[in-house]
Structure formats: C-alpha cells, structure tokens
C-alpha cells in the first residue's frame, strides 16, 4: 500500500504518463515542457547559458539554497545573472496546457470501441470532397486578411499602382511621389517601399510600447544586497520601502529580503499576463516565513539528544584538539616553506 493507491485525490496529478504508452512522442512532449526540478509545467521559464531551462523560482531557489554555481542538469558553470527569460517556452506551455487536456480526452475515447469508426470517418473527407479545394480557399482568405491587417494606416496612401523607384543613395524602393522627401531627409525616413515600411511599422507597433513597458518594470528588480555591510536599521528601511514586514532580528530580516528578492525577480521573468500581483507575492512570502519557523522546534530536540549522548566523547575530542593545536601550527609553517622551495 502506498500513498498513491491510498489517496485517490493525489492521483489527480497530471504527468506524462497520462498519455498512453503508444503515444510515446506525446509523453516526450509533455515531459519536455516540464521543469526538471519541480516536474511541473514551466512557470516563468528561464534558460541558462548551457541551454537548459527551469522555472525561474526553482533555479533561483536552487542556486540560493545550495550555493551551487552550475547547471543542475549538465553541471556547466552558471550564475544567477545568466538567467534569461525564455518567452517561447512560456508560450508553448500556455498553449500546451489546454491542448493536452483535449488530447488526453481524445486518447481516452480512443480506448473505447468507437475507435475504428472514427478513423474511418477521418479518412472519408479527402476522398469525397477533394482536399485541394478547402485549403486553397482558406489560404486566399487568410492572405487577404493578413494583408489588410499588415498594412499600417499611412501605408494606405500608396495605391498598389504607385510606381516605385530605387533611391540612388540607399537603393531602397521608394514611391515616386516621395523620393524627394526621402532623399532630403537623408534616407532616414521609413518611406521606403510600402512593403518594408509595413513590416517596420508593424514591428514597432508590436515591440515598441510593449517592450518599453517591460523594461520599465524590469528596472524594478530587487538587487541582492551585501547584507553584512548593512545595519539592521538600513535593512528595515529597505524592507519598508518594499512594503514588507520589518519585525524580527537581523537573520530574519536578511532571510526575508532574500526570499522576497527571489520571488519578485522570478515573477519578473514571466510575461506580463502571467505575473502574480504584489499582494499575492506578499502572501506567498508570509506563508513561507510561517512554514520556515514551524519545523525549527523539532530540530534542537534531535540535536540535544545527540549532544547529550556523545557529550563525553565531544569533550574528549575538544581537549585533544586543544592540545594538538600548538604543534600543528608549527608543522603547517614547515609545509609552507617546503612548497615555496619547490
């Protein structure tokens, strides 16, 4: 008997084995979009220089807790400053989550006898309706809508019949009517061909305001502090500025600040729509703090028993070490001299 069989609620956990063994590639796909630390879907994925990705919070937590400076997967050197948000992976995860639910449902239906019939149905349309017609009709509409949406407002000024000329200076294709203006402005105007203007304008409309906003927010990253050089008062001020509790002794304050920096910075690695609110992060921090203090009560009990049991042994060892200390320094010096001689 194990928890797995005992608690039906726990079986609700999703993992790659939800897919049937025949669908090996689906299992692989499902495993690929999971963090290898928490084995959940990537939450704010970040990549290291070696190319391995983890949830931002997972890898930050690992680096902070174990003070390891290498990739957990391949042990390549890695630093917290190397972490780069992997927005593609994040998009894949958010698309995969609903998709997998759908596929799992289909796969379960597939196990039932209806399987054969549906397969037949699927193979029907190509033979009767002809596959070429539907896609081509689709593609033209798609092209049309794309074109109209691609064209920015001022691009409509140019009719398709407008003749384009190559600018003698920058070789860009410019509408005849605008060539003078183009040359006067030192080829700086984006009035090249309507085509390139389109893409440029579109890029700036996509990238411009959004990336600006992101940059502005990422400026708010909480930096790591040299905690030893800060006084308790300064630390409290920092915490207060972040809107956090300022109670507790130095070590509590430091731990709180470190944890907050981790939560906060990890949150910034997510795209804007996936970010948690500041209030939610504060709740997470409070929960972490209360859980952190809970298990402390048990630990000393174990330690004191151990200390008591071996107290005489420890005493003896301490005595022995004290006696040995003086001559040890001497031998060390000798060793140093030796190595210098070499």
């Amino acid at each position: 008997m194990s928890v797995w069989t005992m608690n039906p609620k726990l079986q609700a956990i999703e993992d790659p084995t939800d897919f049937p063994p025949e669908a090996k590639s689906l299992q692989q796909l499902d495993a690929a979009v999971r963090c290898s630390i928490c084995s959940e879907f990537f939450d704010g994925p970040v990549s290291l220089q070696c190319g391995h990705s983890f949830c931002s919070l997972c890898i930050r937590n690992t680096m902070a807790t174990t003070s390891q400076s290498h990739c957990p997967t391949c042990r390549a050197p890695a630093k917290e400053s190397h972490l780069r948000p992997n927005s593609l992976l994040e998009d894949i995860v958010s698309a995969w989550k609903p998709a997998r639910a759908y596929i799992v449902k289909l796969a379960k239906q597939d196990d039932q006898p209806a399987r054969k019939k549906r397969r037949l149905d699927e193979s029907d349309p190509p033979s009767s309706a002809g596959p070429s017609r539907t896609p081509s009709a689709n593609s033209t509409t798609v092209e049309r809508t794309q074109l109209s949406s691609l064209l920015p407002m001022d691009a409509h000024r140019y009719k398709a019949s407008d003749s384009l000329v190559a600018c003698p200076l920058c070789k860009a294709e410019v509408p005849m009517d605008n060539i003078n203006y183009h040359i006067d402005s030192g080829c700086a105007t984006s009035l090249q061909s309507p085509k390139s203007q389109n893409s440029k304008a579109q890029w700036s409309s996509i990238m411009g305001p959004k990336s600006k906003g992101k940059e502005k927010e990422s400026d708010d990253r909480v930096p790591k502090l040299a905690y030893d050089t800060l006084t308790q008062k300064q630390l409290r001020e920092r915490l207060e500025r972040l809107g956090l509790l300022t109670t507790g002794d130095h070590s509590v304050l430091v731990a709180r600040h470190q944890q907050w920096a981790m939560l906060w910075n990890a949150n910034l690695d997510k795209s804007t729509e996936h970010r948690e609110s500041k209030e939610k992060l504060r709740r997470t921090l409070r929960k972490w703090e209360s859980e952190r203090h809970a298990p402390r009560k048990e630990k000393p009990a174990v330690d004191s028993g151990h200390l008591k049991k071996y107290s005489s042994e420890f005493k003896r060892l301490t005595e022995a070490a004290r006696v040995n200390k003086a001559p040890l320094v001497g031998t060390e010096e000798v060793v140093v001299v030796d190595s210098e001689d070499l």
């Binding site: 194990s2 928890v3 005992m6 630390i37 928490c38 042994e313």
Partner: protein
C-alpha cells in the same frame, strides 16, 4: 513548503507505478512523503551477487532542492553492504548525496547510482575509518561532512 516536495514525490511515485523500477530495484514502501524504502540488488557478475539490501530515503520539505537523506537500513536483521564507502551504520559516502546533489536527480536515479557503486566494487571491505565514524555519527548522514576522495568505486 511541503507541497513542492510532495507534488514532486507524487510524480516520481506515479512514474514508478506506471513504468516500474529498473531491474534489481524494488519499491518496498512509500506510505508518506517523508520516508521511502527500496531494495536494491546488484545484477550480473559482482561481489554482491544475490544479496539484497534495503535503502531508506528521507525527504525534507524542500526536496528536491535539498538532497534526500539516503542510508542502508541496518535494523531487523537487514545489513548494510560491506563496501569501502558504506559505513556499518548504513551511512553512505557518495558525493551525489552531498555537495554534488542536483535537483534534477530523482529517487530512482539515486538507486541506480548506488547500485552501480556496488556493482563496480571489486573487494568487500569496510571504510578505513568505519569504527571511529560509526561511534560518533549523527542520526542523519546529511549532518556529516564527508570528504570525497576516491572516484574508483
């Protein structure tokens, strides 16, 4: 936080149930998300041929970020293998359980590593400092600071 470790362990357990353990490794009990028991046996030609040992995993709330405490069970007639890196109290001196632990490792991967550690051993002998260590060893091997010096076995 308990939920991170229990969710991750839940997934590992599901995988063990769905896909089974590698040859020579069997899940004995996993009644909670704190202590699991496995038996391991070295397959093929080995000095430990047809000997079955029991491994105990103890998990902390922040597993897998912190390593599990892994020991051989030495109670109820069970014994630790005689191996230069395994103390007679069941403690194991292996770098992946200490400073080389990585959160991407799993319970099964630890079992495999220990299985191959036994398989590559040519001569059954206790660690050189066995008696001294066992006398003062803490209950939890994670409190011991091992020095990893020997890569041969």
């Amino acid at each position: 936080m308990a939920s991170i470790s229990s969710r991750r362990l839940q997934k590992e357990l599901t995988e063990i149930h769905m896909e089974g353990c590698p040859v020579g490794i069997t899940l004995v009990k996993a009644d909670d998300f704190e202590t699991w028991w496995f038996t391991i046996e070295v397959m093929g030609e080995s000095v430990y041929r047809s000997e079955v040992y029991t491994l105990q995993f103890r998990f902390e709330p922040n597993y897998p970020i912190s390593a599990p405490a892994v020991t051989f069970v030495v109670t109820d007639g069970r014994k630790a293998p005689l191996h230069p890196h395994v103390y007679s109290n069941g403690h194991i001196c292996a770098s992946i359980l200490g400073n080389e632990w990585s959160p991407v490792l799993s319970v099964v991967s630890v079992c495999i590593t220990l299985q191959s550690m036994l398989a590559s051993c040519k001569k059954k002998e206790p660690p050189v400092d066995n008696d001294r260590y066992v006398r003062t060893a803490p209950d939890n091997p994670k409190k011991t600071r091992f020095v990893y010096h020997d890569d041969t076995v």
